[in-house]
Symmetry: C2
């Protein structure tokens, strides 16, 4: 069996900071092209490899090739015992190593498999290589179930919550500060809005056994003209994370309804960023089977991840990968051998 | 009698934007030095001229020489009928013209008189030429009553309200926005503070027949770390204008008490700018006499003015000058002959 910690170290040593991933992508592409029976397509810095065995079902295994910038000299892999240090070791070259090894070795899977290695996940969503594939070659992403190898410490993080950001602008009327009754203070108007936002009861819906936990938070506030002027404008930015039992439209309506009682003429409510939630895929028979067989822990994914891109294409998706997400992006980023081997075994079983 | 509109036009034509006042100051200084019996002292771009007649009382007549920048070609004086257009015509070269003419013509006043022409009033208080005199030569500013020639449309604006700005910083704890219960949202904490500030009842004390009107307003607010982070810091800037029956210390205590119920560990309250109020001087016998004789309208001054610098030196002070303050600093700045002549008559009577 392949030494997966060593393979991960090999991949760590091919630097692949976002937008500078060509060397690693080239290496992966070459490996895939050497596998008989794989149909390999390169789209920009993304590589997709597909079996065409005529199976009843198709599983997509996907991972991103980029990393955040190296920090404090962690650009090179360092192994001590069964632990590997280095940027990307957790997020997510250990997951990529598992997938690359399975692509090379499981040549007659029980399902058809699509391997997706995509670029630029660690930067703004607009740059995502997976987004590029969705736009240019959605046909390559067709399938019945998708697993993303993001670090979950070999547990299943089911679906993901949706996210939206909205800017609420409240207007007023300027006046000299010595005569505030001639104006209307837009900053004072924030009081009711912020109180209402903070008072929204927390929804914790349970879907397919996974408890989600919604959030509505003010993440930015600004206002003011000058030290001696009653301000005529104040803005608050709200961030809402919503469970997969709500559509994006329903989530927007919820936020709007929360602030609507305090809005009037001239005020504005604008959604500036939004992405839908993804339903948990854990009741999909293929995934449910390996969860049971391997006794995998399952929990709701509260943050937004690329599983939502698959969900939007109609492909149920979940996160499952080695590595501890809390170590990602840190100078101390590292991964242990055991969860890498667990993931290898689970995914091998999933497609085997 | 001097044509005061023409004299004002002469002064408008000697440009004197803040920090570029030397030409006008030189002109005024030369005029004053030509008057027998005046003791003239120049301190930087400030000129002080004093009689020394051994009178029982001393009146200070003060005005600033600078203007805001010219706009839309109003840097040159233009007279049509009895109206003069031009930058500074209202604020306050008409007042300076009245004072300069009186200094040259009233050579045997009934009181001793100190004429103060000072620099840089139209910029930040820290640059004030009157502040420079207070610091370097407070002896030159001794007296029993001070009149500032700021534009009041020939009414008396009595004393002035004090002003203070304070910054209240509220802290929280950062967390990823998908897990807000791990943190504490500092922006949400603003809700109670802003509601309390907006709910402070308005005090309108009447002092010496003048009704003041206090104000407490949020003039700036800021907070936020990133679109996906529960913010750990929010700041609101408060501006308080307070009536002359409160000391600066009492005013600070009032603002602090308003926000104190909502403050906790790590929060900060800092006074960043403050100036005391000035009591109305309208009950001073010299001023009361001309108010009655000339039927002058009297009202409380709500904004802060340099009268407070005199009040701080123990000199009762009021604003009285020609010109409509609402026209100051506008492209359409102008002054009419009548209020200039009224002020001339009133001040002549005051010192005569």
């Amino acid at each position: 069996m392949t030494d997966l910690l060593a393979l991960t170290a090999e991949l760590v040593d091919v630097a692949s900071e976002s937008f500078a991933e060509a060397a690693l992508v080239g290496r992966i592409e070459a490996d895939l092209r050497a596998v008989p029976g794989l149909d390999v397509t390169r789209v920009g810095d993304n590589v997709v490899a597909r079996t065409a065995l005529g199976r009843a079902e198709r599983v997509i295994l996907a991972g991103h090739t980029d990393t955040v910038p190296a920090v404090d000299g962690n650009g090179r892999a360092r192994i001590e015992g069964d632990t590997l240090w280095g940027v990307g070791s957790t997020d997510m070259k250990s997951g990529v190593a598992v997938m690359l090894d399975l692509a090379r070795t499981v040549t007659a899977p029980a399902v058809d498999v699509t391997w997706v290695f995509y670029a630029r996940e660690e930067v703004a969503a607009a740059h995502s290589g997976l987004g590029e594939l969705v736009e240019k070659r959605p046909d390559l992403l067709a399938g019945d179930l998708a697993i993303l190898g993001e670090p979950t410490d070999a547990t299943v993080e089911a679906g993901c919550q949706g996210t939206l950001r909205a800017e609420l602008t409240l207007v007023g009327a300027r006046a000299h500060i010595a005569r505030p009754w001639m104006g209307r203070n837009a900053i004072h108007r924030l009081a009711d809005v912020l109180a209402a936002v903070a008072a929204v009861p927390e929804r914790r819906p349970v879907l397919a056994g996974c408890e989600y936990r919604e959030a509505l938070q003010a993440v930015g506030v600004e206002g003011g003209v000058a030290g001696n002027v009653v301000p005529d404008r104040a803005m608050v930015t709200l961030n809402h994370r919503f469970a997969p039992d709500r559509t994006l439209e329903e989530a927007v309506a919820h936020v709007r309804a929360t602030v609507a009682p305090f809005m009037g003429d001239g005020d504005a409510f604008e959604v500036v960023d939004a992405a839908p939630a993804a339903a948990p895929a854990v009741d999909h028979p293929l995934l449910a089977r390996v969860i049971e067989r391997h006794g995998l822990a399952v929990r709701a994914k509260l943050g937004w991840t690329d599983v939502a891109r698959f969900a939007a294409l109609g492909v149920p998706a979940a996160n499952l990968g080695p590595g501890d997400a809390t170590l990602a992006h840190s100078a101390d980023e590292r991964v242990a051998r055991a969860p890498i081997e667990t993931c290898h075994a689970v995914l091998s079983d999933l497609i085997g």
